[in-house]
């Protein structure tokens, strides 16, 4: 009995969690979306995903070997970066595109800053934005869903930006993922399944994703009445006030279900490293992401703004953290 009495310093309650376990759990939660993407876009999508993951792992290994740091390619973080990057690519891209994206994501997005936990920006999104700025031709050529002959088609958001009317896409099509888009972003059902798993296990909290999606929905409802589902009534010549008065009729559900919003909000805006620590800060982060996404989608040059929104708010994270510090108990 005497030997069983262990005296130790606090904390006495241990949680069976580690960075590596959390990373692998997020990977598991992303599997349904990948399966759905491969089903919708065909075998090519699978190769993009595999290339993304393998080159991310190899890059991490080479850099850690070269800089004589502990090799930690099995902690899941490089795997997750490669996976997320591939999910952010169109299904039919040349084979070197996911490779270069992963190399850039790991080398410039993460290892240059000192590895896991030190990076300012979400590595997968850094890779995506690099590819987008470098080879826009490949990054904006999307294939038709459920048609394995690689017929190109616009994403719903790109069609909306060009002012086209797409009658044949319903909200249900968007929900199940029957649309053009990136591999991992199309099937909302599968993404929500994964997100629910993370919620139940407590790996992500509601603060960032829900505020993010809510703000996008609210803004597109107020200002986004130029929807694909209604014919174009307003010319761009109309003044801002007239636009505002005819507002409050935007198709908010379309905006929430299309593009990469669900993927971004649940899996990339919730990255532990690059987002605020406090609950208050996380709500500000989510609102900022939502605002920038809605502004880019409605008035910006690109049809989609999720990746830029998250990266911009990543840059604002240190200052958000500074101003939302929790009051230490007993101090003013």
């Amino acid at each position: 009995m005497k030997n069983r009495l262990i005296v130790s310093v606090s904390p006495h309650l241990h949680k069976d969690e580690s960075i590596s376990k959390i990373m692998w759990m997020v990977v598991i939660s992303l599997i349904p979306a990948g399966v759905a993407g491969v089903f919708i876009f065909g075998q090519g999508a699978l190769w993009v995903i595999l290339l993304g993951i393998v080159s991310a792992l190899i890059t991490e290994w080479i850099i850690q070997l070269f800089t004589k740091r502990r090799v930690s390619i099995l902690d899941g973080s490089a795997f997750l970066t490669g996976l997320l990057l591939a999910y952010n690519l169109p299904p039919k891209v040349p084979f070197w595109l996911p490779i270069l994206g992963s190399v850039f994501a790991i080398a410039i997005g993460k290892q240059v800053f000192g590895g896991l936990g030190q990076n300012i920006f979400n590595p997968a999104l850094v890779g995506r934005v690099f590819l987008m700025a470098s080879w826009p031709k490949y990054m904006t050529t999307f294939t038709k869903p459920l048609n394995y002959d690689a017929i190109t088609s616009a994403t719903p958001l790109a069609a909306l930006k060009e002012g086209k009317v797409l009658e044949h896409i319903s909200h249900w099509n968007l929900f199940w993922g029957i649309r053009g888009g990136c591999i991992g972003e199309v099937c909302i059902f599968a993404l929500l399944l994964g997100a629910l798993f993370l919620f139940i296990r407590g790996y992500i909290s509601w603060h960032i994703p829900i505020t993010y999606i809510f703000v996008v929905g609210l803004f597109t409802y107020i200002f986004g009445s130029k929807s694909v589902f209604t014919p174009l009534e307003m010319s761009t010549a109309q003044s801002g006030i007239a636009r505002f008065l005819t507002g409050f009729s935007g198709d908010w559900l379309f905006h929430i279900l299309s593009g990469g919003l669900i993927l971004g909000a649940f899996f990339m805006a919730t990255d532990y490293v690059t987002t605020p620590l406090t609950r208050k800060g996380q709500i500000i982060f989510g609102m900022g992401c939502g605002l920038i996404t809605a502004i880019i989608r409605l008035w910006g040059g690109y049809p989609e703004g999720v990746s830029y929104a998250i990266l911009m708010m990543n840059a604002a994270t240190p200052i958000i953290d500074r101003y939302t510090k929790n009051r230490i108990y007993g101090t003013k």
């Binding site: 410039i108 240059v112 690099f130 700025a133 470098s134 080879w135 826009p136």
Partner: protein, 197 residues
């Protein structure tokens, strides 16, 4: 003679204005899109540096300390005007490509920095070699940066396409690409420096 050689060489490696002193980044970021632009900018800046270093060194005993910066600026601006007029007359295409960055050599911090930190205290002959070294160092740095950017960002070197089927990364032709290349080169040279010590 060896002393002058050292004055000249320190600007190229040990005190390279771009990679060690980290001066003059504004023109570096802006004009390093192609090697031709880089060389043109480098030669223009070298000429201004050489001229202003010599003149300021000659006048170092008569310039009152309290108004030295305006005096330096007048000297530098004179040489910049000469450069710009010559460039306009003999190489209008280069002048158009460099645009506003030629007159902006007036406020280039390498030129003003050498006047303030070196020429106003040193002998004429030393200032001459210092200006020449700094100018050559700046030119070499520009050639390195613009070579990387032109090759990866446009697939060309000096305007000639090297490989068929090579798909350049547009981002390196943009200002963000210049920041990336300069940042990585700075890191690389710091690694080399740390290795040696």
């Amino acid at each position: 003679m060896k002393k002058f050689l050292n004055e000249f060489l320190k600007g190229i490696i040990k005190e390279n204005p771009t990679f060690v002193l980290v001066l003059g980044l504004c023109p570096t970021l802006a004009v390093s899109v192609s090697v031709i632009n880089g060389i043109g900018m480098g030669i223009a800046a070298t000429f201004v540096l050489l001229g202003s270093n010599i003149i300021i060194s000659l006048m170092r005993n008569i310039i009152p300390a309290r108004i030295r910066i305006p005096c330096f600026i007048v000297v530098i601006a004179t040489f910049v005007t000469i450069t710009e007029l010559v460039m306009k007359a003999y190489s209008p295409a280069l002048n158009r490509a460099l645009g506003i960055y030629v007159p902006l050599i007036v406020v280039n911090c390498i030129v003003l920095g050498r006047a303030e930190a070196y020429a106003q205290k040193a002998r004429v002959i030393n200032s001459l070699f210092d200006g020449l070294g700094m100018g050559v160092g700046f030119t070499l740095a520009l050639i390195l940066i613009s070579g990387i950017r032109e090759f990866l960002g446009a697939g060309k070197i000096l305007g000639y396409t090297l490989f068929k089927g090579f798909e350049p990364a547009f981002v390196l032709g943009m200002p963000s690409g210049a920041l990336l290349v300069i940042g990585l080169l700075l890191g690389f040279f710091n690694i080399l420096k740390n290795r040696r010590t």
